[in-house]
Amino acid sequence: MLKIENLHASVDDKSILKGINLEIKAGEVHAIMGPNGSGKSTLASVVAGKEEYEVTKGSIIFNGEDIEDLAAEERAHKGIFLSFQYPVEIPGVSVTNFMKTAINETRKAKGLEEMPAKDMLKLIREKSELLEIDRKFLSRSLNEGFSGGEKKRNEIFQMAMLEPQLAILDETDSGLDIDALRIVANGVNKLKSKDNAVLVITHYQRLLDYIVPDFVHVLYNGRIVKSGGKELAHELEEKGYDWIKEEVNA
């Protein structure tokens, strides 16, 4: 589904990703871990198509298509979703209205009619129940005055609504207490299928107890320096990142 080859990217002429290779197949869950500043969030932004990042080398192939020239919204239409580490506020735009616009814009891009209001309401009800979201929450302005937990839950709610093929969860666990973490992880697990894939970016192993990865990659200094199964996450939790750094620098 996603194939990243020798990806180099920089922002403001500062090189951050220095040759990433990663392949994600449908039905898989991958986790990317690594110390602060290793390039984890940059990788997420580059795949999603954030403009400030410049791809200097390498390619991102999504379902056989090189997506480098596609705008962020076009990538979204193709089924790439990013759960933001810091979701932005849009005052005066309700969660419902935002989702309605997002879904209909995506449908429009695919040459489909707008979703009938009835179906939209049904979908919203279904997905909000899945994530144990209070209906009142949906009429509030997007992320305005939301707690950290509410913001993250709202991100996963949007993911549920948009049903992406590839979901990138950027530090979704940060700012979540244990109950919220469980709800969010449950939501992600319920949305998992053999046709979609999840890329979890996290600092800690905690989230991976709930969303169990098939593969764990360690990102350090812009490169994936170690890959393994879920046991690698445990190892990192126990030993920290220093031994990886030593291995790399040796």
Partner: protein
């Protein structure tokens, strides 16, 4: 990757074309340029006005001659040459029409371009329209339905002839002839406008709407509107305008007076889309408007405005809260782009006890425009327990525009409670990227953000106007984006 930055956006905005820019050639009956006592008399004569009206105009003209054009607003422009303007212009086919077939086809074509088909409007929206092209009303509909309720809705010229007692009593009672420079000018030379009277206890069954148009080269337009809501009555009045594109500046100096007697309520909504000038700041309408309402006991007046047009806007719809327990509201969205300048806001004058006022102002600036909110909240010594809440929010797009807030508060009663909140924000690239990532393109994202920002005010508009206003916001800000 197609890179779309704020700089691109600004470029796009600059190239936005005015959608309603066209000019209709209708043979007109136009006065020579210039202003003197004879012209004032001639206007009055042309309209067949009674002597008291002629004298009232002359008094206004006398005051105007002594007055000077105000300069305190945060706008700069070349002052109009008042002797270079023709003060009267009327479409040639003077008689009123029984059916649309009789109306000048060119005029109908103009309406079609604007999307105002009278037929359509009549059938679909149930909105009674008093269409003003330049100065004389050419079509009035739904008069009968209104007549059955005793509601008078006609041109001000007609009202002067048919209902002199009402006009004589109320004209100039809220905005006196010498209130300010432009109001004095308007009082002397107003050519036409609308008049509305709602009898005691009557709830007007439909939204009243007037479309104003400027349509004659070099002709200033001086509208005069008078709305009287008698005791316990209710009316919602909609005013919307678009003007043809033109190179030289056009002066628009309107006066609107609202009178809400005991327990009455008036809702006055405006969508203003006069020609704003081109991307270099050339041309565009000068919009110097005096709008004021008077509230008697328990009365309520709400002003709602969506201002997207004009090169210069100078406009402060105000409420005089004279009666105890009366309520004044002002909801405003002002959009400026390119070289537009807007200085707009309100005055809430609290005279009665337990009077309440609310001000919600949303300014959106793009291009090289300047957008100012100017508001006065005045609590007089007798206004016990007066309350005011003001909120002024500004949204900036790009780095070359300006947003300014000039709130004035004069409280002379210790029991007054006055709150003022102000915010300034900028559409951020992070917000746009967030929307993009959810599949929403940049053009749509901006529309979404702007609509969200303006929601509190858009919600106050009557349904059919809210949709139009939303569209107008998108046109004004995005134009050719995408």
């Amino acid at each position: 990757m197609s890179k779309y930055t704020e700089d691109d956006l600004r470029e796009e905005l600059k190239t936005k074309q005015y959608e309603y820019g066209f000019y209709t050639d209708i043979e007109s009956d136009t006065f020579p340029v210039g202003l003197n006592e004879d012209i004032v008399r001639a206007i009055s004569l042309k309209k067949g006005e009674p002597e008291w009206m002629t004298n009232w105009r002359l008094e206004a003209f006398k005051s105007w001659k002594e007055m000077i054009e105000p300069e305190w607003a945060n706008v700069s422009y070349v002052k109009p040459d008042f002797q270079a303007i023709s003060y009267y212009s009327a479409p040639n086919s003077k008689p009123k029409y029984d059916s649309l077939d009789e109306v000048d086809p060119e005029l109908l074509a103009t309406f079609a371009k604007l999307g105002i088909s009278l037929d359509e409007q009549k059938k679909l929206s149930g909105v009674a329209m008093d269409v003003v092209v330049d100065s004389v009303s050419v079509a009035t509909t739904f008069k009968k339905t209104l007549g059955e309720k005793g509601i008078i809705f006609c041109s001000i010229s007609e009202a002067i002839k048919e209902h002199p007692e009402l006009v004589k009593k109320y004209i100039g009672s809220v905005v006196p002839q010498k209130d300010n420079f432009y109001a004095a000018l308007n009082s002397a030379v107003f050519s036409d406008g609308s008049f509305c009277y709602i009898p005691k206890g009557v709830r007007c069954p439909m939204e009243l709407s007037t479309y104003f148009r400027i349509n004659q080269a070099g002709t200033g337009q001086f509208e005069r509107t008078l709305v009287i809501a008698d005791e316990g009555s209710y009316v919602s009045y909609l005013e919307g305008c678009t003007a043809p594109s033109r190179d030289e500046n056009q002066l628009h100096a309107a006066v609107v007076e609202l009178i809400a007697l005991d327990n009455a309520e008036i809702k006055y909504s405006t969508v203003q889309n006069w020609y704003p000038g081109n991307a270099e700041g050339k041309g565009g309408v000068y919009n110097f408007v005096t709008k004021r309402g008077l509230c008697e006991k328990n009365a309520k007046i709400s002003w709602t405005q969506v201002e997207t047009g004009s090169a210069i806007t100078w406009k402060y719809p105000s409420c005089v809260l004279k009666g105890d327990n009366s309520v004044g509201e002002f909801y405003s969205i002002a959009v400026t782009n390119n070289f537009q300048q807007a200085d707009t806001g309100t005055k809430m004058i609290h005279l009665g006890k337990n009077t309440k006022s609310t001000i919600i102002s949303k300014g959106i600036s793009a291009g090289k425009s300047q957008n100012s909110y100017r508001g006065l909240v005045k609590i007089s010594p007798n206004a016990d327990n007066a309350r005011n809440f003001s909120q002024c929010d500004s949204l900036l797009m790009g780095n070359e525009c300006g947003a300014h807030t000039f709130p004035y508060i004069e409280a002379k009663n210790k029991t007054a409670k006055i709150e003022h909140e102000a915010t300034t924000s900028k559409i951020g690239e992070d917000q746009i990227f967030y929307c993009n990532q959810r599949g929403i393109n940049t053009e749509k994202a901006i529309a979404l953000i702007v609509n969200g920002f303006s929601k509190d005010v858009l919600n106050k508009l009557p349904m059919e106007f809210a949709v139009e206003a939303q569209k107008l916001l998108e046109i004004s800000l995005e134009g050719s984006v995408g």
